[in-house]
């Protein structure tokens, strides 16, 4: 039984060391931004159609581009969590349109490692119709999940 007493020390010390090590902050491997996921469609055929070129920036912030890419579908549109609305310029195949979103914002915890982000609930967007024909909302909840939120027919 003396061995019994002695042997209960060693595992305890080892496990304490392991626990101490496990308390260090972990890394975040999850999506931390809740984007509006916008899928582009050809308005004539209602078939998915990636624009040949797409540029995107915030209204009045044309020197700070969100996108300048070709053949991108879906596009990820960031919303401004500090206000309840924001306006973006979408240049689709060289033609500019503005899209304005109004929304409510809530704080959401992703995980212990990734911390907090903002989720939104959007209303129907207001947009110009230079090249865009219609925008339909398929899911009003803007989260970090990979799911379509709006369809842009152009």
């Amino acid at each position: 039984m003396r061995n019994f007493t002695q042997r209960i020390f060693a595992p305890a010390v080892l496990l304490l060391t392991l626990i101490q090590g496990s308390c260090t902050p972990g890394s975040c491997f999850e999506e931390t931004n809740a984007f509006v996921k916008a899928t582009f469609y050809n308005y004539a055929t209602s078939v998915k159609a990636s624009p040949d070129s797409l540029s995107m920036w915030g209204c009045g912030r044309d020197t700070s581009l969100i996108y300048k890419k070709s053949r991108i579908n879906p596009a990820l549109i960031p919303l401004d969590a500090s206000t309840g609305q924001c306006c973006l310029v979408l240049r689709i195949n060289g033609v500019n349109d503005t899209v304005s979103f109004t929304y409510t914002t809530t704080v959401h915890m992703i995980s212990k490692e990734c911390g907090y982000t903002f989720y939104h609930t959007i209303d129907d967007p207001v947009f110009t119709k230079n090249t865009i024909d219609t925008i339909t909302v398929t899911k009003t909840s803007i989260t970090t999940f990979s799911e379509e939120n709006i369809r842009i027919y152009y």
Partner: protein, 260 residues
């Protein structure tokens, strides 16, 4: 010289026989006296960790009452104060917690001697916690948004299964450790704003929470009981040399179909 040698040999033989006779004379006990105890203990790993990590304080103690030589009633409680800082937020949670359940000693009474314990415990845990996100920030195209979330108080309910060892170091004073697995039943907190740590339970990451506790405990006997010792089962020697089909035991013939 020869007489001396004979005398020494005689003495040795006599002592050996005497010793053998003493061993033989000891009757195998059919029962053993066991002290039932009231026990109180403190968890010491928490304070030790606090000296190396000031962000995590856990104070915990327990009281236990032996119901019989195998089962003890357990009641414990403590207080946790936890601070967690990640790159974009800082979180605190603190509050008391309470546990109640039973411990089961797997050692045989004659082996445990009232001093040793190797077994498992099952507990129901209750955590009353106040948590707060004192600051967080989020960056995207539009810039950085910094904010904080107000303090909230909730109850959490969980189950705990713990296994480990305890041994008496000296009179009535024991040490031991337990490895615990905990399962949250109900957090009471909103999924969008929930604690990353619950007092008494641990980290909220994952479906289970694991922990180790290292206890110092003091006990006093309050009752002595006599426990019958079950005789060791005598293993019957099997005739390993006998090959299948060559057994000469015909006693089972004719009984094989009876169980159907």
């Amino acid at each position: 010289m020869r007489k001396i040698s004979v005398y020494i040999i005689s003495l040795l033989l006599a002592s050996t026989i005497s010793a053998y006779g003493q061993e033989e004379a000891q009757p195998v006990p059919d029962s053993v006296d066991v002290d039932l105890r009231i026990r109180a203990g403190l968890e010491v790993a928490g304070p030790v960790i606090y000296f190396t990590d000031r962000n995590s304080m856990n104070l915990e103690g327990f009281a236990a009452l032996d119901i019989n030589e195998k089962i003890s009633a357990y009641a414990g409680g403590g207080y946790s104060d936890f601070l967690y800082s990640q790159y974009n937020y800082e979180f605190t949670t603190k509050g008391p917690f309470f546990k109640a359940g039973a411990d089961f000693n797997f050692l045989r009474p004659e082996m445990a001697e009232g001093k040793y314990w190797a077994g498992a415990g099952v507990r129901y845990g209750l955590s009353l916690f106040t948590f707060e996100t004192t600051s967080f920030s989020h960056d995207n195209y539009w810039g950085r948004v910094s904010s904080a979330l107000p303090a909230k108080t909730n109850w959490a309910h969980y189950l705990e299964v713990a296994g480990g060892f305890r041994a008496e170091l000296f009179n009535n004073f024991s040490i031991g450790w337990l490895i615990s697995v905990r399962k949250m039943i109900y957090t009471g907190a909103d999924k969008a704003y929930r604690p990353v740590y619950y007092p008494g339970y641990g980290s909220s990451t994952g479906t289970l929470s694991f922990g180790i506790s290292y206890y110092l405990s003091w006990s006093i006997p309050y009752k002595k009981i006599r426990v019958q010792i079950k005789p060791e089962p005598v293993e019957e020697e099997e005739d390993e040399e006998a090959e299948p089909g060559t057994s000469t035991d015909f006693s089972n013939i004719g009984r094989q179909g009876l169980g159907r």
